[in-house]
């Protein structure tokens, strides 16, 4: 009987397997067909194919780079510069979009009519205007509104804002590594503290103010290194320099270019509307009975939100918010319109033009976005799993 079942199962499996294998073979053949077709067409037109260009000198400069770069570096390095810039603006965008989104989302549920209505208007306006227009708006509005370098907006003589960017002081460290070690050490201590606190709570029901001790540690330890660790910090303040009769520039310090500011602003304000709606849906998705039950056992309002509502709301919020993070990352490719040197402008733009290697460069760029998106997905799925209901 068992044997018969096994046999039947196997043949059933085959029945499923063969069409699947054939489908895969068919798909592979299609890919081969298009590859061969593209190759022969490129051959006919005298276009060569290859990735050798990546190690050639790029011979173009880039406005803004997180790593050391100029035109004497390779195309591969230019690619890296673009990639880092894309990651930078996406990270900044995601950070602010999350904060703004959560705030607006909660505000929409506020009892206060004005707060709730303003939040609603914000969502409806920014969600329904195409992103590219918002980017242009922030960029050119900012450029028109900001003063020329010589009459910069002055923040306490250390930071300056003008049409060419936002100039902030640069940190000049001595013994920077000791400072970093102290922060890492503080985190390790906090980790053990949290374990200990949980243990105490589970065993003896004792509450330890973990948060306050953690804050003390993370500020106190690095502060100590200044006193006894030989760490010191000074600031390089941007200085106004005259280049010609009316041309001025700030030298020294760190310059945050207006392209980055306006792009990050547009991306986070746009994406925040969608995150706000997710947050609202998440909170509304937790049944009223949960809150009432929590209140009945004497939890405070803050505790109800932190311990009962949010953990359940997060399960509803995280998956669609992951989508919004992915969207924001992909939308950052609109940077090219306002000259922010992201991967599309630098690599799929300038490098493509200079080398003419359209197929190679576009495939690399697509693969890059794919892996960026997949990385975000993997991280968010991990976080989602962590937040999911753990059946005990």
């Amino acid at each position: 009987m068992n044997f018969k079942n096994l046999k039947l199962n196997l043949s059933n499996k085959n029945k499923d397997l063969i069409p699947q294998i054939l489908t895969v073979v068919f798909l592979i053949l299609i890919v081969i067909y298009f590859t061969i077709n593209a190759q022969s067409n490129m051959g006919n037109r005298g276009i060569s194919f290859g990735f050798g260009f990546l190690s050639q000198e790029s011979s173009f400069d880039i406005t803004f780079s997180l790593i050391d770069y100029d035109g004497s570096h390779t195309y591969a390095r230019a690619f890296l510069v673009g990639l880092l810039n894309t990651i930078l603006v996406s990270a900044i965008g995601i950070f602010f979009a999350t904060i703004l989104g959560v705030t607006i989302g909660i505000a929409r549920l506020s009892q206060n009519y004005l707060v709730a209505k303003s939040a609603e208007w914000y969502v409806e306006i920014f969600r329904n205007i195409p992103l590219i227009l918002q980017i242009f708006f922030w960029y050119f509005a900012a450029l028109r509104a900001l003063p020329l370098t010589v009459d910069s907006i002055n923040f306490y003589d250390i930071s300056f804002l003008n049409v060419k960017g936002w100039y902030v002081p640069k940190f000049v460290w001595t013994n920077f590594s000791i400072f970093i070690y102290s922060i890492i050490f503080a985190f390790i201590l906090i980790y053990f503290l949290a374990k200990y606190a949980q243990n105490q709570r589970d065993k003896f029901g004792k509450q330890i103010p973990t948060l306050y001790i953690s804050i003390l540690l993370i500020i106190g330890l690095p502060f100590l290194t200044f006193l006894i660790g030989g760490v010191s910090l000074s600031f390089e303040i941007p200085e106004l320099t005259q280049l010609s009769k009316t041309v001025y520039v700030y030298r020294g310090g760190v310059s945050i270019i207006p392209e980055l500011i306006s792009l990050a602003l547009a991306l986070s304000m746009y994406t925040a509307t969608f995150i706000a709606e997710n947050v609202r849906a998440g909170i509304l998705g937790v049944s009223k009975g949960q809150k009432e039950a929590a209140a009945s056992i004497g939890l405070t309002k803050g505790q109800i939100l932190k311990l009962v509502v949010m953990p359940q709301a997060l399960r509803i919020i995280i998956p669609p918010t992951t989508n919004q993070y992915l969207n924001l990352t992909k939308n950052s490719s609109l940077a090219a319109a306002i000259a922010y040197p992201d991967i599309v402008l630098v690599f799929a733009g300038t490098a493509l033009m200079q080398t003419g290697r359209a197929i190679e460069i576009i495939s690399i760029t697509m693969l890059t976005y794919l892996s960026l998106s997949l990385s975000i997905s993997v991280f968010m799925n991990w976080y989602n799993k962590k937040m999911a209901i753990k059946e005990k």
Binding site: I32, L352, M353
Partner: protein
């Protein structure tokens, strides 16, 4: 069960056949010009132009394209199809232009494109000639006190277009002068103009003809000036796909005809009356002597049609570049007989 496997095998076989067909279909090349045949069949010349550069290729409100680059396409259409208006224009960004040409979306690229070795040799293109000798320059605000490129100092910011030779020339120039600069490269020319106008950058650099044309779009054109120095050679000319030498010759000699016509004083109004001229060179130009068109499969009046319908190079320049106030002075784009460097091989 067996039936379904059979179906799948059939599908597999069919796909193998499909691949085989695709391969054999792609390779065949003929001695005749495929592009010429296709153009005649379609009834129009597929021409790639800019997204709007006054004087070179620019569309008016009604969608009519004009400019000296446009005239190259019109000349080809007059020669091949007998009507200069039978052109289909495709506006292209700097980034798209070469792919559009190599993929066959267009057959002639007349889009202020600089002739360089790597473009000519590397990416399946052939430059057929030069219809405008340009050079890269800088525009600054008059009030800035900058009167020459020698007044540039470390920290200057320069706006330009991405994906053009100007981006590379700019680096070469600032490096040779040992000046640290901030390059800001936009995808479209309109954004460059807006950013420069708003004061984002201290100077705007591109081909001098482009600077002259874009200056008109600034909010106060009179407050800006172009510096006297030229930092690069920018021979702009039409481009065709590599591998169709007949088509290449047609485009090359359509352009050459316009320049040679100016040299011999043949223009749109007097061309037909010069059929019985004493000068054999003129007679060849208007199709009264020789069998020049036969060499690329055209009739003998091909060059006469170009001159009559499009005009000679001088007429085209005057109409689009000089009279529009972009560059009234022809400079290097004058005939070699008049102190310029326009010199084309003889049509004989």
């Amino acid at each position: 069960m067996i039936k379904s496997i059979k179906t799948w095998i059939l599908v597999g076989l069919a796909s193998v056949l499909l691949v085989a067909c695709g391969q054999s279909g792609g390779g065949a090349g003929s001695k005749k010009s495929k592009t010429l045949d296709n153009t005649k069949k379609a009834g129009f010349v597929k021409c790639g132009v800019s997204q709007g550069l006054p004087g070179f290729s620019n569309a008016d409100e009604a969608g009519n394209w004009t400019g000296i680059d446009v005239d190259v396409c019109r000349a080809v259409a007059a020669a091949v199809l007998g009507d200069a208006d039978k052109v289909k224009y495709t506006p292209l960004s700097a980034k798209e232009r070469f792919t559009a040409l190599t993929s066959g979306e267009i057959d002639v690229l007349a889009r202020n494109t600089t002739w360089t070795l790597s473009r000519d040799a590397d990416i399946g293109l052939t430059f057929v000639g030069v219809n405008f000798y340009d050079g890269q320059g800088f525009m600054v605000r008059k009030a800035s006190g900058i009167n020459s490129v020698n007044d540039f100092r470390d920290g200057i910011s320069a706006c330009t277009n991405t994906g053009t030779t100007t981006e590379l020339n700019m680096r070469d120039f600032f490096n040779s002068k040992n000046i640290k600069y901030e390059p800001i490269a936009f995808e479209k020319a309109d954004e460059v103009v807006q950013a420069y106008d708003a004061g984002r950058c201290d100077t705007y650099t591109t081909d001098k003809s482009g600077l002259a044309a874009q200056r008109t779009k600034l909010s106060n054109p009179d407050e800006h000036k172009v510096l006297p120095e030229t930092i690069s050679k920018e021979p702009l000319g039409p481009v065709v796909r590599q591998g169709d030498s007949v088509w290449e010759d047609i485009v090359r000699w359509s352009l050459n005809t316009m320049i040679e016509a100016e040299e011999y004083g043949v223009n749109s109004s007097n061309a037909s009356s010069l059929k019985d001229s004493d000068n054999p060179a003129i007679k060849r130009l208007v199709g009264a002597e020789g069998e020049l068109g036969a060499a690329f499969g055209l009739d003998n009046d091909w060059s006469l049609r170009i001159i009559e319908q499009v005009g000679n190079y001088g007429e085209s320049y005057k109409k689009h570049i000089a009279d529009t106030g972009i560059l009234p002075n022809r400079g290097p784009n004058e005939l070699w007989t008049k102190g310029g460097i326009l010199y084309v091989p003889p049509a004989r």
